[in-house]
């Protein structure tokens, strides 16, 4: 049963990298991302029913007044089970439980100073009007995503996220410091060799964040910066892809870059791997595969899953004069999602140090590593 979620996860999580295999493709009837996404805001902060998978993803590095360092992540996944079509084909009248979509949530807090990583997960179906098990609502321009005890409210000019887990909780307000960044070609982000192996993908690359994190029963005021991704697609991953490495880096000069590497079975990278650089004024530059180089410097073995993850990297973007080392702030930031997706992956806070344009530079960010604790079967 638990492993069942791996499928959903694989087909959803992978939006970052383009997603399930052709032989597992069952996308008939769903909308396909094949060209310009024509993203408009705040309209496109809301879900996009008709596309099979969608996710809203928040990560950030925050500090308390005393300098205690926390990382956090909150992800809402939407998975559409059948193509959009109202209540067509449903019994009449349908049960309030009848639904075409399910929502999954993953959340974590990395208490870097205390060297601990706390995590939680939620799952629920959309459709129960008024019952609030999972889904989204829109009031005017405000979009709310929710699961029991969890929410992300996207206002036109800010975001509010809240998570109440067993071991931790957080309530944060995030204000974009820059406008949304549309990756790829105006948000059309290729993840494979054919046009439909793509997603619509945009980010808020820097969100000024404040609020509180509760750990060990104590609420701690925090401030810092976050990153937000929103992506939707229908296409599965390209055959031969075993996982991906995703980097979101915020440099101290207020520039940011995002890189995703789609790893192939043969050890190479899919040519669709790419990235985006955003300068301090919010001007972006697409980074094709040939523009950057990522080398693994260190690894970490998880005692829980036995997986060996990279834990240190050197990233070079010669065109921009960037050469930085990226290191995890806490080795064990592995997500064990047995109660929802069943997929084990690494999602963690990292620190950055190196040079940019010949000058020393520091930064922070988040890295996501999938496919290390055994390949997704859906990817094979």
């Amino acid at each position: 049963m638990r492993s069942a979620f791996a499928f959903i996860f694989a087909s959803m999580v992978i939006l970052i990298g383009g997603l399930r295999t052709a032989d597992a493709d069952n996308s008939s009837g769903f909308l396909q991302v094949t060209g310009p996404c024509k993203l408009e805001f705040p309209r496109d902060h809301a879900p996009h029913p008709g596309f099979r998978n969608e996710w809203w993803y928040y990560t950030g590095n925050l500090k308390s007044e005393t300098g205690r360092h926390f990382g956090y992540q909150l992800t809402f996944f939407r998975h559409q089970l059948t193509p959009f079509g109202g209540s067509a084909g449903w019994p009449d009248p349908p049960s309030a439980w009848r639904s075409r979509q399910i929502y999954i949530g993953h959340a974590a807090v990395s208490d870097i100073s205390a060297k601990r990583h706390l995590q939680a997960e939620k799952v629920g179906r959309e459709g129960l009007e008024g019952l609030g098990i999972g889904g989204w609502v829109q009031y005017g321009q405000d979009v709310t995503l929710f699961l029991p005890g969890w929410s992300a409210v996207i206002f036109p000019d800010s975001h509010k996220i809240a998570v109440a887990g067993d071991d931790f909780a957080f309530q944060l307000e995030l204000k974009p410091a820059k406008p949304p960044v549309k990756h790829g070609i105006s948000g059309y982000s290729r993840k494979g060799s054919t046009p439909e192996r793509a997603s619509c993908y945009y980010s808020f690359s820097r969100l000024e964040t404040s609020g509180s994190i509760t750990v060990a029963g104590k609420s701690i005021p925090v401030k810092g910066e976050s990153w937000m991704d929103h992506e939707f697609s229908t296409a599965p991953l390209e055959p031969g892809t075993v996982g991906w490495d995703w980097f979101s880096i915020q440099l101290a000069d207020r520039s940011e870059f995002m890189i995703f590497l789609l790893r192939r079975e043969d050890g190479g990278l899919n040519t669709a791997s790419s990235g985006t650089y955003i300068d301090s004024l919010g001007v972006l530059r697409h980074l094709d595969r040939g523009y950057f180089d990522v080398r693994v410097l260190d690894t970490w073995r998880s005692k829980a899953s036995g997986a060996v993850y990279p834990s240190g990297w050197q990233i070079k973007i010669p065109l921009l004069g960037i050469e930085v080392d990226v290191a995890s702030n806490l080795p064990d930031q592995e997500m064990q999602t047995s109660a929802s997706t069943g997929v084990t992956y690494w999602e963690g806070s990292v620190s950055v140090k190196g040079v940019k344009g010949g000058s020393p530079i520091e930064g922070q960010g988040y890295v996501e590593l999938t496919g290390y604790a055994g390949p997704f079967s859906a990817l094979k």
Partner: protein, 858 residues
């Protein structure tokens, strides 16, 4: 080591020499142990199946939210969602369904939200992960899909991907089998007769929109009992937070009570076998006194002799138990089905998928058998301790010795029997009638101890008469019994026990059946019973649709109707049924089997809705009596009514509360109809034809939306189930009687063997073979007659204990005490004949060795 060698030389060799007797005793013990073991294993299989099923079903839930007597509105979910103590929740619905197109048994359909349920119950779909996931998602994705267990798919002859049409109380619909469940967790509930479907499909199929059976809850680790109380306060008052183990615990308690009763009954065979062990070990002690004296003179301590005979007894126990293994394996197969069916009929629904070899049950069976055999050998072994070394030099001490004063034994016997009186008045311990069982054990022991005195008196009184009317052999037989003392009498104890058991069970079963017949005639009265489709298997949870009710009311067929609504409820942890019924009409046609309360006054109060009527079981279990206030919550109505009468009722689970339907509707809410029964007003002409006509009219109008059974068929089926239930009891009884017959054979054989010298002397002084054999036969007749008379007396006392103590404390019900004289008059002579037939081998053994040779040995 020395003891083992001595045991081999002294005891094993002797047993090998007299292997025939040893074999009979072993067979007796084996039969007893086989019955005991197989009964325990059979009930244990049902118990473990039930517990496992309930545990898998309960999953990890810490509390279960229910609405007593009805369905939960799913609108309560936001309260749970918003409460800080709640960690996870999972709504759940269940019902029994059956395949429409192919006849077959119903099975359980469970409706869950597969997403929310994952934190509670374990279930997986077979096949590789991608396929399994797709199939699992199909439940949510595609309306009318389900997942079956492998055994159910096999039984329904359906494969994954195929379609099947299912019937439910309110609907029939075609489902696609999305996958097959792996044999684990939820797939093992109800012996694997389970189908899983999405909660949306379940509600659409059953029409239960917005309703749930229950919501399972887990709480956050830091949630305190106060937090949970806070949650309970925030929930609507009509809802109840229950322990998820409540249903399991009450079911387990009922099955355990049944197990104990059957164990005690099956122990009777072992108890009877105990007499066999006693008989043979006592013979060996008596016949080998000289050898014992020699052993003593060679330095063996009294303790060594004691241990020799105790071990001999235990050897019979161990050997009998080993021999019981193949017998048990045969018997248990027969019992497995019968026991599970009885448990399903009387207590809780169980599906036994196979035998579970519980090490504990096997250890209990071995332990009880060994203890029983050792207990039987204890007294002869103690006698062996008393053999003085000087007897080695004496010649004529062998033979029958009177160990105890007959009068002293009689006093002990009286003490045992009388001790049963206060014991039987004591309440059970933790719901188990231990004092009652102790009273029964003392009763058996008492009558066994009384038998020497009885035989002595019998011999004294009869001997002169027999001399006159039956000749010298009968006279000598009477004299012998008068003088033979405790040992022969103890053997009579085997027969007393068996006959007592027989008599008591005949009386009990007859009383039970008689009362059930009366109940069936009065309370299960009516000419046609109508309920929703699959209403019974779903425990009448669904109401008959209003349109059909309106149509039924208007049917002009010259019949009165009694509508009813049955609610499955809990009073504390005790499950019972609340039935609102058309009381006035019912009482004008049928009635109740009254136990307490003035029937006339009670009828009046019932029809005026002034109070409830409770069954004896309900009264016993809850402690409520006439005048007490019965309180409950049904479908949101808070009910508070006085108890106006107590009646006998024997429907499943036992506990029932009756109230007037009309007044329920007026005072609380419309309970709707879950069933209705028709009574034809004109009883003069033939009713059967009119019942058929009414049934056909209903079918014509509403198709198969309703289940119907004629009153006559229903009453017959109740009695048939009753008879089937007691089939196991009868088998156990027959085995006890068979062991008793073996006891007679052993006793008489022992008597012949140990008196071969005496008999040869009789022959030498002029007695003919025929006369001596006649004498033995007379002895056998006396033993059997004494055993039967005493057994009969013991049996009547026992029957009283069974009806008024054991049944009441075990199951909460009693019956009208009625003796089936006909059955006794027919069976007791048969038992005499069987017992006399068992004496034949002993009679034939007389003079197997030439008398002269025996006398020469002397």
């Amino acid at each position: 080591m020395f003891f083992l060698r001595l045991f081999r030389w002294f005891s094993l060799r002797n047993l090998r020499t007299h292997w025939g007797r040893a074999l009979v005793v072993l067979l007796g013990i084996a039969l007893g142990a086989a019955v005991f073991t197989s009964v325990r294993l059979a009930v244990h299989a049902s118990l473990s199946s039930f517990v496992r099923s309930m545990d898998f079903f309960a999953g990890t839930a810490q509390k279960v939210l229910v609405r007593p007597g009805g369905y939960l509105p799913e609108g309560v979910l936001p309260v749970l969602l918003g409460h800080p103590a709640v960690k996870d929740f999972s709504p759940l619905l269940t019902t029994y369904v059956r395949r429409s197109d192919v006849p077959g048994d119903s099975f359980l359909m469970i409706g869950i939200d597969p997403l929310l349920d994952q934190a509670f119950r374990k279930w997986r779909i077979s096949g590789d992960r991608d396929q399994a996931t797709e199939r699992w998602l199909d439940l949510i994705r595609e309306p009318y899909t389900l997942i079956l267990t492998e055994p159910l798919a096999r039984e329904l002859q359906i494969a994954s991907g195929a379609r099947l049409k299912l019937d439910h109380t309110r609907n029939s619909a075609e489902f696609r089998v999305a996958g097959i469940l792996m044999p684990e967790g939820l797939a093992l509930v109800e012996g694997g007769r389970v189908a899983l479907t999405d909660i949306a499909t379940f509600q659409e199929f059953t029409g239960l929109y917005g309703l749930l059976d229950r919501i399972d809850l887990t709480f956050k680790p830091k949630a305190t009992p106060q937090d949970i109380e806070d949650l309970a306060r925030k929930l609507p008052a009509e809802l109840e937070l229950r322990s998820p183990s409540a249903a399991r615990d009450s079911g387990t308690a009922m099955i355990r009570a049944y197990q104990l009763n059957l164990s005690v009954l099956s122990f009777a065979s072992l108890f009877v076998g105990m007499f066999l062990v006693y008989s043979l070990v006592a013979l060996n002690v008596a016949a080998r006194r000289r050898e014992l004296a020699v052993l003593r003179s060679l330095g063996a301590s009294p303790r060594t002799l004691f241990m020799l005979f105790l071990c001999e007894g235990m050897l019979f126990g161990a050997g009998g138990w080993m021999l019981a293994i193949p017998l048990s394996s045969l018997l248990v197969k027969y019992l497995l089905h019968g026991v599970s069916q009885t448990i399903s009929t009387l207590f809780v629904r169980v599906q036994v998928e196979g035998l579970v070899l519980s090490p504990l049950e096997i250890a209990i069976s071995l332990g009880v058998t060994l203890l029983t055999a050792a207990g039987a050998a204890l007294q002869p072994a103690r006698e062996a301790m008393g053999v003085p070394p000087k007897e080695a030099m004496e010649i004529s001490q062998a033979g029958v010795r009177r160990g105890h004063s007959v009068r002293r034994l009689a006093l002990w016997a009286l003490g045992c029997i009388l001790a049963g009186i206060p014991l039987s008045l004591l309440p059970g311990v933790a719901g188990v009638p231990l004092p009652g069982y102790l009273a029964i054990l003392l009763l058996f022991i008492g009558f066994a101890l009384l038998s020497p005195w009885m035989l002595e008196r019998l011999g004294q009184r009869l001997a002169p008469l027999l001399r006159r009317y039956a000749g010298i052999p009968a006279y000598l037989a009477g004299r012998y019994l008068r003088d033979c003392g405790a040992r022969t009498a103890i053997s009579v104890g085997a027969l007393i026990t068996a006959v007592a058991l027989f008599t008591a069970l005949v009386v009990m079963i007859h009383s039970f059946r008689h009362t059930v017949e009366l109940w069936v005639r009065q309370t299960v009265s009516g000419d046609l019973f109508v309920t929703t489709k699959m209403g019974q298997v779903n425990r009448f949870r669904f109401a008959i649709p209003e349109t059909i009710v309106a149509g039924l009311k208007q049917m002009d067929v010259g019949a009165d109707y009694v509508q009813s609504r049955r609610y499955q409820m809990n009073y504390g942890d005790f499950p019972y049924e609340f039935e609102a019924m058309g009381m006035e009409t019912f009482l004008s046609h049928g009635g109740f089997v009254w136990l307490k309360g003035d029937p006339q006054e009670t009828r009046l109060r019932l029809t005026q809705g002034e109070g409830v009527l409770i069954s004896e079981v309900f009264a016993t279990r809850t402690g409520l009596g006439i005048g007490d206030v019965f309180r409950t919550q049904i479908e949101g109505s808070s009910i508070e009514l006085p108890v106006v009468g107590i009646i006998r009722d024997y429907r499943t689970d036992g506990g029932v509360v009756f109230y007037s339907w009309k007044h329920f509707k007026e005072r609380f809410h419309d309970p709707q109809w879950s069933g209705v029964r028709f009574f034809f007003k004109d009883r003069a002409s033939e009713v059967g034809g009119r019942v058929s006509a009414l049934r056909n009219a209903i079918i014509q109008r509403w198709g198969d939306a309703l289940d119907m059974v004629s009153g006559k068929d229903l009453r017959e089926s109740v009695l048939r189930i009753f008879d089937e239930t007691f089939a196991i009891t009868t088998v156990l009884l027959l085995i006890a009687l068979a062991v008793a017959a073996l006891g007679i054979t052993t006793t008489l054989t022992v008597m012949v063997l140990e008196r071969s010298r005496q008999l040869s002397t009789l022959y030498a002084v002029g007695g003919s073979f025929r006369q001596i054999r006649a004498m033995i036969f007379w002895e056998a007749s006396f033993l059997v007659a004494a055993g039967e008379v005493a057994g009969l007396a013991c049996g009547f006392i026992l029957s009283y204990l069974l009806v008024y103590v054991i049944n009441r404390q075990s199951f909460g019900w009693t019956f009208l005490y009625v003796v089936d004289w006909g059955a006794l008059a027919f069976s007791l002579p048969l038992i005499i004949l069987t017992a006399l037939a068992a004496a034949v081998p002993a009679v034939r053994m007389v003079f197997r060795a030439p008398p002269a040779a025996l006398l020469r040995e002397r």
